[in-house]
């Protein structure tokens, strides 16, 4: 059983990703993909802040990141990727507007009020041989039919991944930010929809631990968010730790190791 050591960077462990029959991988030969959903449960949490921080943290692990945000309300990730107000505020006036852009050579982002507006949207992403990860953030509970939302999101993921063989791509990982009864609800839904998805629960330190079977619990600092007003992605160490943990767990799972040094 591997011993716990300092979190490895993804390129140190990417060789552990193995093809698995029935698992929908991109047809691009040397291109490894993973998909992670971010569900922001508590409405007091800043979805865009968490999404931007997580996306950039994955990019810093030598990955190409396609970051998608679905949901209403400000701020959206356009704020944190320094888009001018006349760009990131447009969805409040025209909900069909899809905000998109590139942060650097490693991260492209898209934000839309609802999934249906992404159906014909083409994501531009160069994949220069680096592993590609798709990160999709949304607010939970969903204000539409939940199971349909997950199905449509999985279809959207398949379309973005370029996987011509599959109509849907379930997430490799689901990170739940928040606490309360909604944790139980989303766990129930994801387990029915995609039982192989690895689930991570990020709760504030010191909050009542929720009875829930998840693969990894990641404590969120109570003071997470002190840079919330800055027009740039957050760089708190929490996000680097989160990305590293998620990638480690996913890599062990790909190798077929059911349990790792971190689970109970």
């Amino acid at each position: 059983m591997p011993q716990r050591s300092s979190p490895k960077r993804f390129h140190d462990i990417s060789h552990l990703f193995l093809s698995k029959s029935g698992y929908h991988k991109s047809p691009r030969e040397q291109h490894v993909e993973a998909c992670v959903w971010l569900a922001v449960l508590n409405r007091s949490l800043n979805r865009a802040y968490l999404a931007a921080g997580t996306g950039v943290a994955f990019a810093q692990q030598q990955m190409h990141v396609s970051l998608l945000e679905i949901g209403r309300g400000l701020p959206n990730i356009g704020y944190y990727f320094a888009r001018v107000p006349s760009a990131y505020i447009v969805p409040t006036l025209d909900e069909t507007f899809v905000l998109s852009g590139r942060w650097n050579s490693s991260l492209v982002f898209v934000s839309a009020v609802a999934l249906r507006y992404l159906s014909r949207f083409k994501l531009e992403s160069d994949l220069d041989g680096f592993p590609h990860i798709i990160v999709e953030a949304f607010t939970y509970p969903i204000d539409t039919d939940e199971r349909n939302f997950f199905i449509e999101l999985a279809e959207n993921t398949a379309r973005i991944s370029g996987c011509g063989e599959c109509h849907r791509m379930a997430p490799d990982g689901l990170v739940i930010f928040g606490d309360g009864g909604d944790v139980t609800n989303i766990l129930s839904t994801i387990r029915a929809f995609a039982p192989e998805t690895q689930v991570f629960l990020a709760q504030y330190e010191g909050s009542t631990e929720i009875e829930a079977t998840v693969h990894e619990r990641i404590p969120m600092p109570v003071r997470l968010g002190t840079t919330m007003s800055r027009r740039m992605p957050p760089t708190e160490t929490f996000f680097a730790d989160l990305a590293s943990t998620v990638l480690q767990v996913l890599s062990y799972r790909r190798k077929g190791i059911e349990r790792n040094a971190f689970s109970g």
Binding site: S44, R72, L74, P85, I89, T92, L93, V222, S229
Partner: protein, 114 residues
């Protein structure tokens, strides 16, 4: 907690004093987006203004007039923005959002939960 839409009727009533349809629309959208900023956002509809405040200390007053509306941040007012066009709406909402996020950040730094 009532939904955003459920909290709009009082705002719709006070918006009736705005004459230009486009400004009226921008007023309603602005108020809706402020409500969406936080699930703890409180709203008071007074005879001549709508007041939004949050547990973080964020406060904004929106005052509808015949041809425009004024967005006033903080108490005492730190910034007033007159809105009669889409550009004015965008500026006002951007400033209000940044003010809200600054108040939230400050609460976080003090270890105050929200």
């Amino acid at each position: 907690m009532p939904s955003v839409d459920e909290r709009m009727p009082g705002i719709v009533r006070i918006a009736e004093r705005i004459v230009p349809v486009e400004v009226w629309r921008l007023f309603l959208i602005f108020c809706r987006e402020i409500l969406r900023l936080s699930h703890t956002m409180s709203i008071e509809v007074a005879p001549f203004e709508v007041r939004f405040h949050d547990t973080s200390g964020f406060l904004v007053r929106v005052l509808p007039y015949r041809e425009l509306f004024v967005v006033s941040l903080g108490a005492p007012s730190q910034c007033d923005v007159r809105v009669s066009t889409t550009d004015g709406y965008i500026s006002a909402l951007d400033i209000a959002l940044q003010h809200f996020l600054a108040m939230r950040s400050s609460s976080k730094a003090k270890g105050i939960s929200s």
